[in-house]
Amino acid sequence: MKLKTVGIVCAIIVSLTFYFVFSVYFLPDSYQSLKKPIPEPYLSKISFSESDIQYGSSFDINITGTNLGDASDIQIISIGFPNLTSLDDRVKITSYDFRQSPFFIEIGDDVGINYGDTSESILAQYPSIEAYSRPWKSNETYQISLSVTPDKPGKFVVFVKSVGLPHTSEKSHLPKDGFLDYQNEFVKVYNVFVNTP
């Protein structure tokens, strides 16, 4: 009887030791060494209907993005309008097939910086549209089309970028270099000339 009790006590001690060593040290250690996903955003099409327009008319932007890397939790295509003060009546989404509805970001809205590597944020300095899919799996492709009406004559600038989150590598953003925006993220710069009537 006593031997049976000793046996049970020993079995309990061994099982608990195994469990806690396994759970607290062995498995977390192996999970920490798991490969982190590396999303690779790619913009397969960025087209502008016009490069030169008359003041008061509109032009269309069509952007198609793909994820060439691992599945991302969130992947964003951002289209910024540094010449505009508001998106109202100036930028209209004509079509999109993203999983979620695009975000309209106005001046003063809270936005992330440095590709979301930290939880820091900054106030938006110009309006933009963020089209995103959550999640955006490998090799999935999404598109968005916009109609834009510039509010004054002159050079009308459009910034385009795509970011995959989690941002685990330099591959997780596009473009890889070039012009840095206020979020400290690289953007492709496009110009449309708006002629005075």
Binding site: L16, Q32, D73, R99, Q100
Partner: protein, 359 residues
């Protein structure tokens, strides 16, 4: 031949309680799935698959309430089931009223967070009704306390555990900031609250599940079912967490050991030791969502769903050793609390029985 002729009033009452418990189990499991679905897919419509199961569970519970009430009418000693019926009849209407409230909250304020008035009313109503249903199941005559009846108590305990977890999540997870409201708890409060309440809940529920049945295996089955439900609704559907399922299910080991201790000894100190073991598993049982609670104070990273396992394992190595002592103490308190609740329950039953004898 109608139902009334086939089974007795007491059996119908038991069937009703079981249906209420099953419905709430479905609702609370769907609620857990819904939290993960929001995290992974950010649904933009109220009409999602988790919501369908959630309200299907409410419908089953409502039918169960009807069966329970009809069954109770034909029960000779109605007084015995009074508390049970009362709790279900308070809880279920709260849930039913919360449903349209939840829908209109969605319409008015868009995507809602985890903690909102409608979600709280829904979860608290489920919690009350699940206590009522379990109370009805355990009030069934002791002479009929068979293995199948023990399994029914497992069915009764699971929704209590899941709905109570839902309430604790509301006050500890940072998922309640929306465009219009910020109901997120302060990160430090959330850590303290989770560290105290999670182990207390696990220990209380599992200790009671053993004590009510006094049968080896019930605690392990109850704990394992909870782990399986959480694994399916929170881990399995996140591709990146799939490899962590063995780690998660390994928690069956301490449940099994606590079950052995409670089954083979009646010594108080060893019963508290079983409670201590149960309390110490809180950090594992509430994986993966617990990552968001402790990250708010310790790692302070942006926790994307694909990185949960990385952040959690970092917290496991650095934070769990600091908290395990507190969790053990809370586990002991949970066992004592479980014993106290059961003794109070017996006292209430005795008082009710003596106050209005039926024969």
């Amino acid at each position: 031949m109608n139902l009334q002729n086939v089974i007795s009033g007491k059996q119908r009452f038991l069937l009703g309680c079981s249906m209420v418990s099953f419905g709430i189990l479905m609702t609370s499991s769907a609620g857990s799935w819904d939290i993960t679905n929001h995290l992974l897919n950010k649904p933009e419509t109220f009409f999602s698959l988790p919501h369908l199961f959630l309200y299907l569970g409410v419908a089953i519970s409502s039918v169960g309430t009807g069966v329970m009430v009809l069954g109770n009418r034909h029960v000779f000693d109605q007084q015995k089931f009074k508390l049970s019926k009362k709790l279900v009849l308070i809880g279920l209407p709260m849930v039913i009223l919360a449903a349209p409230f939840d829908y209109f909250w969605h319409l008015a304020f868009g995507l809602d967070g985890l903690l909102s008035p409608s979600h709280f009313a829904l979860t608290f109503g489920l919690f009350l009704a699940s206590i009522g249903a379990l109370s009805g199941i355990v009030s069934y005559p002791k002479s009929k306390f068979t293995i199948s009846h023990s399994l029914l108590t497992v069915l009764g305990f699971l929704p209590i555990w899941l709905t109570a977890t839902g309430i604790l999540y509301m006050f500890s997870l940072p998922f309640s900031e929306t465009e219009y409201f910020d109901f997120n708890p302060d990160p430090t409060f959330a850590v303290i609250f989770a560290t105290l309440s999670y182990p207390l809940l696990i220990s209380t529920v599992l200790f009671m599940s053993y004590k009510i049945n006094k049968r080896f295996g019930v605690l392990t089955i109850t704990g394992s079912c909870f782990l399986f439900i959480n694994a399916i609704t929170s881990i399995f559907i996140n591709d990146f967490l799939f490899t962590t399922i063995p780690f998660y299910l390994a928690t069956i080991i301490p449940f099994f050991i606590s079950d052995i201790i409670l089954s083979f000894t009646k010594r108080k100190i060893l019963q508290f030791a079983a409670g201590a073991i149960l309390g110490s598993t809180a950090f594992m049982v509430y994986y993966p969502l617990i990552t968001y609670v402790y990250n708010g104070v310790f790692t302070q990273k942006v926790v994307f769903p694909s990185l949960i396992a990385h952040v959690y394992s970092e917290l496991m190595v650095s934070v769990y050793p600091l908290l395990v002592g507190i969790m053990i103490v809370l586990g002991v308190i949970g066992a004592a609390l479980g014993g106290y609740i059961l003794s109070r329950g017996d006292a209430v039953k005795q008082v009710l029985g003596e106050a209005k004898p039926q024969s």
